[in-house]
Each structure stands twice: as C-alpha cells, then as structure tokens.
C-alpha cells in the first residue's frame, strides 16, 4: 500500500481575478452575444454552414474533438480503478474535473448547433428514438456519461461543504459509477467514429473504414493521457507547483503503448483496403493525412526512450503533438475529407466565420474559467506540502 500514500486533495486558494480569468470572461460575454443572434435569426446568421457542409466547427471541434480532449478522466480512471494503479490516484480528480467540463460543454454545444433544439426531448422519447442511428447511441451515452461524471465528482463538492454522511453514501456506490464511467466513454467515443460510416463515399477513403470505431476509441484513450500530460504541466507552471513526474513518466509509457497499437491498426487498415495509395496522390487530403501521421509518430521518437520520458519539456511537447494528432484525424474525417457527392454541381465550400470561432473560443474559456475557480476553491489538486515531502 506504500504506493497509495499521496497528498490528499486540497483547494489551491488565491485570487479569482487575474488576467486569465478576465480574458475568459470577455470571451464568454462575446459568445453569449453571438448565441443570442443565432437563436433569434437562425444558424445562417452567424455561421458559414451550408448544405454541402452541414456540420462545421461547432460539431467537429466543440463536440467531436472537444469530447476526445475530455477523455483524461476516463483514461486515468481506467488506470487507477480497473488496472489498480493506485499510484496515479492524485491525477484522478484534476483529470475528472477537466472531463466533466469538456463533456458538459460538448453537450451544451450540441444545443447551439441543433436547428430545432426545442424538439430535443425526442432523443429520449420511446416512440421517437431510432436505435439504428449512430447518433442516437452517441447522444444517449454522452448524456448518461455527463450525469455519471457529476456523481463521480460529487465527493469533491460534498467534502468542501462538510456533508460527510452524504459523501459516504455516494462512496458506497462509487465502484459501480466508476465502472459505468469507463464503459460509457468506450461506447460513445468509438461511435463518434462510426458516425462517418453512413456517409459512405462522401468521406475520403483515408478516413472511411469499418474499423473507425476502434480507431476513434484507441485515439480517444491516448488523447486522454496526452491531455493529462498537458494539463499537469500547465497547472504546475501556472500554480507554481512541482510537476508530478513520478506519475507522468510511467503514464507516458502506457500512452505510447496505446499509440503503437493505434498506429498499427491505422496503417494496417489503410494497406489492407488499398487506400494508402491515396496518401501519395498530391492533394489537400494527402497533406493533411501526413500532418496527422507526423503528429502521431513524432511522440514515439520524442519520448520513446525512458530517459526522455523524464524530461518534462519533452512530455509536454509529446502531449501537445498527440492531442493534435487525434484532433487532426477527427477534423480530417469530419471536414477536410468530407465532400458531399453530388458530382460537378456541388461547389460547396466551408470556412468558419469569426462568430463560429468566437463561440468555440468561448466554450474553451468556460472550461478554463471553471477549472481555475474549482481548483482554487475545491479540493481537486493534491495538497502541495505533502507532495513536497515525497
């Protein structure tokens, strides 16, 4: 049990008003203003969406990529509770918090994008649901997972307000909630990839394959670890805390293992289907494919050696590269490699408007602001003095 002795979580404290929180506030205000226009005058008033590109960055970035970035909680919880690696326990709460925000906002972001949002209850209405629809499965799993994560995080809030009895009650059922919290993301993260299958020939062969669910699941897991690396480094530098290298170094090794499996499946599938040749045809798609591949392969070189994994700068860079690699695969599949197949008469183009970008930025600002407020006021990050005694 020696491994499990770690600093108990404690609020970081400090002021909530600083340049970062103020910037977040401004971005959130801008987002609110744009959304008001969107809800009053329709999607066309603020977005560049069209019938050739019915899904823009609010779906591809905020939901598809955003929810994968929010897989830190799931990836770390798997490590700690399923594979019983108790030594990673201090990473659970901060990762869970980031996931909680990521998913809650992805869920809210969907509403902004829904053209007939007042009908959204049909998604849960027995006579309306369509179990054949990949999107139905994604929506149900994400909705459930958001609830599950709030329950998983509830001890933090209950602790802070001294509700120890309630906390104990929640703790008794926690093993089941944690199990649910690993199965639900596996289900919907894989299905986010399956969303593309029904689009058939409209998706470029480099991103259209029956193994999409496996690719999206594996990449969501390594992106989860990559985000934890990124967050740990940023939180340490922003709050002037010691970097948790004793946890990050071995975790990076696990991340590379998942990444290696992913790369084998990804390239193997392209070779088996013969789609790999498309990567050598000069095109925007091929360029974006190699960019995606470079981001996925570079970390193997960058932190492949154990000594390099002890270097925080390299870990940080590898984390960013993998977040980018996974994000690019999603962006490429949903936007770059999507071409609505109506012959020569299409001619549709899409480039996000400033308003769309500002809403996406506003969503990330909500996450950052929420993370700062909660880590400063609630027991999420490990107590620093205990950490120093290690």
């Amino acid at each position: 049990m020696a491994n499990n002795q770690h600093g108990a979580p404690a609020p970081v404290g400090g002021s909530l008003v600083n340049i970062v929180t103020l910037t977040c506030g401004v971005l959130i205000a801008l987002m609110a203003a744009i959304l008001m226009v969107r809800f009053l005058f329709g999607l066309g008033a603020v977005t560049a969406l069209n019938d050739g590109y019915p899904w823009g960055i609010w779906i591809a970035v905020d939901v598809i990529i955003g929810s994968a970035f929010a897989c830190g909680g799931f990836s770390v919880a798997m490590l700690v509770y399923i594979f019983n690696k108790g030594e990673y326990h201090p990473l659970v709460r901060p990762a869970l918090l980031a996931s909680l925000f990521g998913y809650t906002l992805a869920g809210a972001g969907v509403i902004f994008d829904l053209g007939r949002w007042w009908n959204v209850w049909n998604m849960y209405w027995p006579t309306s649901i369509n179990p054949n629809s990949v999107m139905f499965e994604v929506a149900i799993c994400i909705s459930l997972y958001i609830v599950v994560m709030w329950i998983e995080f509830s001890p933090v809030v209950l602790e802070q307000f001294g509700k120890h009895d309630a906390r104990k009650k929640v703790s008794k059922a926690m093993f089941f909630i944690i199990a649910l919290g690993t199965v639900l993301p596996m289900m919907h993260q894989s299905s986010l990839g399956t969303l593309l299958v029904v689009m058939g020939v409209q998706i470029h062969p480099l991103w259209q394959t029956p193994v999409l669910p496996l690719l999206y699941l594996l990449s969501a897991i390594f992106m989860g670890y990559a985000v934890v690396l990124f967050e740990s480094c940023v939180a340490s530098s922003a709050y002037r805390r010691k970097i948790e290298m004793q946890m990050l170094t071995p975790m990076a090794k696990i991340m590379l293992g998942i990444l290696a499996v992913f790369i084998v499946v990804r390239l193997g599938d392209l070779v088996v289907r013969g789609a790999i040749f498309k990567a050598f045809v000069p095109s925007v798609e091929a360029l974006m494919f190699w960019l995606e591949m470079a981001c996925c392969i570079a970390p193997l070189i960058l932190i492949g050696a154990e000594t390099n994994r002890r270097n925080p700068a390299r870990l940080f860079l590898a984390g960013i590269l993998l977040m980018l690699g996974g994000a690019l695969m999603r962006l490429n599949g949903f936007l770059i490699g999507y071409e609505t197949n109506i012959g020569d008469a299409g001619g549709f183009t899409y480039f996000p408007t400033l308003a769309e970008v500002l809403v996406t930025a506003g969503m990330f600002a909500v996450e950052v602001l929420g993370y700062i407020i909660i880590t400063r006021r609630f027991p999420v990050l490990p107590r620093e003095d205990v950490q120093a005694a290690h």
Binding site: N50, G115, N122, I129, S133, E137, S171, I178, T194
Partner: protein
C-alpha cells in the same frame, strides 16, 4: 507486488470479457434492404426532357415553397440547386459549343435533381429521432418536422445531397421531396410528373417504371416509339380499366382518372444503364441518360447501401446491449475490488 498482480488481473478480466462478447454475439451482417414490392417512384428520362422547368414550378406550388432568386432583378423563381425551399430542380450539363442535345462533347443535356427515395436510405438510418422515415408500403421517404431536432445528420449522410436545411430561419426545417405524398389521398400523384409535357418525368410503381426503362434501352435510337406521360399504367392495370366510356373502372392505387396521354417520338441514344436499379441496393426514382451519369451530377455508388454497413457495425457492438452489459459487468467486478480500499485510505487522510 500486489498492484502488479491486480493490474494483470484487470487486463485479463477486461480482455476475457471482450473476447467472450465477441464470441457470444455472432457477426451478423445487416444486408442492404431492397425496395418494397409496391414501391412508388419516378422515371426520369433525360433524352425526353426539354428543360422547360414546369416540374420545378409545379413542385414549388404543391409544396407551398417560396421563390428563390439568383438574378439581380428578383423577377421569378430561379433556384440554382435544391435547397430547404426547393425540392426539385432541372440542371443543365454544358460542354464546348453546345451544338447538340444529349451529346457529351460540344453538347448539352438535362438532369433532374430530387430525392431518389432509396430502398435503404442513409437519411432514415442516420436520423436519431425517427423524423425521417420510410413508408413500409409505398417506400416514400417522408419527413416529420415535429420530431426533427435539426441536427442535419441526414443532410451529411445522403450521397445525393438531398435533405437540405433552412439556415436562414430560427425555426428552420429540413426540406426534401416526399413524392407529393400529401396529394396521394386525393388520388393525385407527384406534381412534377403530372405537369411534365414530354413524359420525361413519369410516375408509377418502381417495378413498372423499371420495366419501362428496360423497354426504352432496347429501342433503336431514332426509331419512332410510343412514350407514356403523367402516370405509368402497367398492362394489368389497363385491363382493369373497364370500358372506354369509363364504366367499371378498377384502379389498383385509387389514382384519379386521366386520359391516356401517350405520344410517339424518336427514341434517344440511351446509355445502357438504368441509374437507380442497383445503386445503393436500388432506389425508387430511376434515371435514363445519354450522357455519363457522373458528368450530369449522379454519383457513382456501390450496390451496398452505406446504411447497411453502419447498422451492421452498430448492431454487432450494441445489439440487445449484450456487449455493453458484459463489459460493464467485468468493469464493475474489477472496480469493486479496487475502489474500496482507496476510498477508505483517502477518508482516513482527511480525518
């Protein structure tokens, strides 16, 4: 050492659970669905089309759609493509000097763009709330705005680019051809076929339309032949038609009476391809053309519908929730062993 052993147990348990599920759920492929036997549809013959766009105007009128302008003076309806407010359009193919109709080089041709009413539609498979449905009898792909959440997955999924959304409205709907199903109860069929002066758009049972299409492909180009207009009445229906004075009529579908409008004209130089016969397992709208279908905007599609592949994956992973529950069971078992001591220790630390 304890953790390493437990770690391995975790790996084994989850691995075993996944394998057990994969073995327990046989890989069942969801085959591409054929058209229903009584499916209704259209036959569009590009060689008969004169590009008058009467069908575009009739479609607007029968669906109560507003005009769309693409010219500076906004004089009349001039949509350039189908949209949330335009469900049918005639597009023109132009090449070089445009000398002759239905000629690929230095020629021009027409093509109708509207819903193909797929036998196995991607939009219906994609729709999470059953707002897009396929009628089990007529096979018409219909839309219900009262269920639609406006996610536009149908717009993204359709390989023909048919369902379109009204982006300019805060309460925008999806717009698409529903084969004028709202007129069927009055015995009236698709407005585009009803008004077509040359019979280029013909309404009928897809089975009959397919036979008619094959009849045309067998014709010698330039040879005088008889072509029906409006609604295609198959041979057996003509037998039930009764006497010439209209007495004793028995119509299979209850369509309104209409005089025979067939006429004689030379047959076109058809490509030996009925578009929609096999594409995506078969569509209910069929097309004939003299110019390569891809060049006139009809995508080259495999005989298997993408919906079949999507649903095969989905049902093999989640069919009856067997796999999710098995994995959940394994995860719960492992988590129950691993979570408890950890929570107690963290509780002590606080106390």
């Amino acid at each position: 050492m304890g953790t390493r052993r437990d770690f391995l147990k975790g790996v084994l348990a989850s691995g075993a659970a996944a394998t057990a599920c994969a073995a327990a759920v046989p890989a069942l492929a969801r085959e591409t669905r054929p058209r229903p036997p009584e499916a209704l549809g259209l036959l569009y013959d590009a060689t008969l089309c004169v590009g008058c766009k009467a069908c575009v105007a009739a479609c607007k009128e029968s669906n109560n759609n507003p005009p769309e302008f693409s010219t500076v003076d906004h004089l009349w309806d001039t949509p350039l493509d189908t949209s949330g407010y335009t469900f049918n359009i005639i597009k023109m193919y132009r090449n070089g000097t445009m000398d002759a109709k239905d000629q690929e080089t230095n020629g021009y041709a027409f093509m109708k763009t509207s819903c193909m009413h797929c036998g196995d539609p991607s939009c219906v498979s994609a729709c999470p709330v059953s707002a897009m449905t396929k009628d089990p009898e007529t096979g018409v792909v219909g839309y219900n705005p009262d269920k639609c959440i406006g996610c536009r997955y149908c717009v993204a999924a359709c390989p023909f680019g048919i369902p379109k959304y009204q982006y300019d409205s805060p309460t925008g709907r999806i717009g698409k051809c529903e084969l004028c199903r709202h007129r069927h109860k009055d015995g009236r069929y698709s407005a585009c076929a009803e008004v077509c002066p040359t019979g280029a758009t013909l309404f009928g049972r897809t089975e009959d339309l397919l036979a008619e299409a094959k009849r045309r492909l067998a014709m010698k180009p330039g040879e005088l032949n008889r072509f029906p207009r409006g609604r295609l009445r198959p041979a057996q229906e003509r037998m039930l038609q009764g006497k010439p004075d209209g007495k004793g009529q028995k119509h299979r579908h209850g369509w309104r009476d209409e005089p025979d409008q067939s006429y004689e004209t030379p047959a076109g130089k058809y490509l030996q391809h009925v578009y929609g016969e096999k594409e995506y397992g078969g569509t209910q709208v069929l097309k004939l053309s003299a110019v390569n279908f891809e060049k006139v905007g009809m995508p080259d599609l495999p005989p298997e519908a993408a919906a079949a592949m999507s649903e095969t994956i989905q049902h093999n992973l989640y069919g009856n929730l067997i796999m999710p529950f098995a994995v959940l069971g394994a995860m719960t078992y492992v988590a129950k062993r691993n979570v408890k001591p950890d929570d107690e220790s963290s509780g002590k630390e606080e106390g």
